[in-house]
Amino acid sequence: MPEMPEQSATAGRRFDTVLIANRGEIAARIERACRELGLKTVAICSEADRDAPYGSTADSFLCIGPSSAARSYLNQDAILLAARLTGAGAIHPGYGFLSENAAFADAVEKAGLIFIGPSASSIATMGDKISAKRAMMAAGVPCVPGPDTSLPDDPTSVERIALEIGYPVIIKAAGGGGGRGMRVVPKSDQLHEAIALTREEARKAFGSPSLYMEKFLQHPRHIEMQVVCDDHGNAVWLGHRDCSMQRRHQKVVEEAPAPGIAADIIQPVGEACVQACLQIGYRGVGTFEFLYEDGAFYFIEMNTRLQVEHPVTEMTSGLDIVQAQIEAAQGHVLNLTQGDVTCKGHSFECRINAEDPDTFLPSAGVITHLVLPQGPGIRVDTHIHTGYTVSPYYDSLIAKLIVHAPTRAEAMARMCDALAGTEIEGIATNIPFLRSLFEDHAFARGETDIHYLEHWLKLRRAA
């Protein structure tokens, strides 16, 4: 029997090989960061992604399961086996899939490997929206009005809570997120029915009937703070992003910094986020998401992972967030103080999706022609190439188009040029839709809230 070179344990938090437990553009992005840090990479794939280009540039490439995500990218055992077979010392979960799965983070560490992310307990605390809110209130992070406890069963108590908050209120599942498991209650006569429906949905979708109630904000913007922390009590926030341009709770365009918010309003919130990280012993990168309305911030949730939109903050801060995340996992001391953090210029990111620009139905197929934009201040994070087959199994994100310029207006103009210079044929993409969005006057003035895009699309369909 041939000798087995597999190894399973690492000394301390050191590792020299990273298994990337993800696919698509983020797998390519993480691979690049690892290479720049001198680390070896193991790319994994499902059957549908056998031809992924990041597979040929990784040091090892292994197919771990069938095309369905449940049997490949979400298959914890298959990923841990792949790490053992290839001698990887750490696992980077990317975003989506297992990135915010506390049980997976725990299983990785128990297998003697490093999970590139926060501890399982940090993920679990932030994954439960009630415990997250409690932790944030304790750290002085402003939260949406409403108790930091789950709703009682007693109807009279629930009515009293709603009255104290003031209608309209929103009922949310404690285990929910990403826009799922929530219901707006405009008036008191709809309260009990809304609670019964949401509780049943929460039980079915998230395995827990636990609900909580908050004030429903009418016209908020979505503003988020990027943080990076080490294991030695150091944490900084790298600035803010505006991700208000959303369709069905999915971000479409993101920008940094968030326009039109005075530094004296946003600064204390960023500092409170840093304090919260220090209090919960957070490690790695993370994002605090807020609603912002009438000059006030309200915490909604923390994403305990790398985010899709991290590049806009990289462009304005000059820091490689993925490298910082990996170095934090290695146990390095954060080589950055808050005073070193700057925000230069303005950056936009467009998510290029393989979908019909009008109906938004996913579009799978072979890319027959591809031209990506180039020039100063233009960055494209992608894994696609001419001849690449966009599979129907996964998220439709195929590329991220990122621009950077001295001012917001210049960055918008640069994005218009970059979108015009992008040619993708063989499949449908949302580029025509993004091009019209970047010609919108309200967007240009920075006057849009989280409902703006839905209204804009409705008007566009009616026209």
Binding site: M1, P2, M4, E6, C45, E47, R50, S60, F61, L62, C63, I64, G65, P66, S67, S68, R71, S72, A78, L81, A82, R84, L85, T86
Partner: protein
């Protein structure tokens, strides 16, 4: 659609492989000229029924044994004294090799009767899920 001949054993073998890989238990295709029904049944292998045009005899159909998971590929058990030679006749229940992770070896069964004619992966190599490992020439 009409270009696909569902009475062709190679097509049926391909579909059966695809169903097994995807963990789907059955498939039924109805067309004006006939009907094909494949049921993947646990240990007994696949059953199929076809009506309409009579199936044609295969010219020299082959089947490929693929890796059911990622691991190291072994053509023989480490305790085996006699090396396995090629080509050799195999029946569907025969263990033709192993995929190993650490000290755990997962036996690979031929799943078809025929002649094992070729290795498609290097012994000792790291193989991924679905990687082709053996080629079996099917016997009618």
């Amino acid at each position: 659609m009409s270009a696909i001949d569902f009475s062709d054993p190679a097509t049926i073998a391909f579909l059966t492989d695809a169903l097994t890989t995807a963990g789907v238990h059955g498939l039924e295709i109805s067309r004006p000229d006939g009907q094909l029904r494949i049921v993947v049944a646990g240990k007994d292998g696949a059953r199929l029924s076809s009506t309409g045009a009579p199936p044609r005899a295969p010219s020299s159909a082959t089947a490929v044994v693929k890796a059911p998971m990622a691991g190291r590929f072994y053509v023989e058990h480490p305790g085996s004294a006699t090396p396995q030679k090629l080509p050799r006749s195999v029946s569907d229940a025969d263990v033709v090799g192993f995929v190993g992770v650490g000290h755990v070896l997962l036996p690979l069964r031929a799943s078809r009767s025929g002649v094992l004619i070729r290795l498609l992966a290097e012994p000792g190599a790291l193989v991924g899920f679905g990687d082709p490992l053996f080629e079996i020439e099917l016997q009618p």
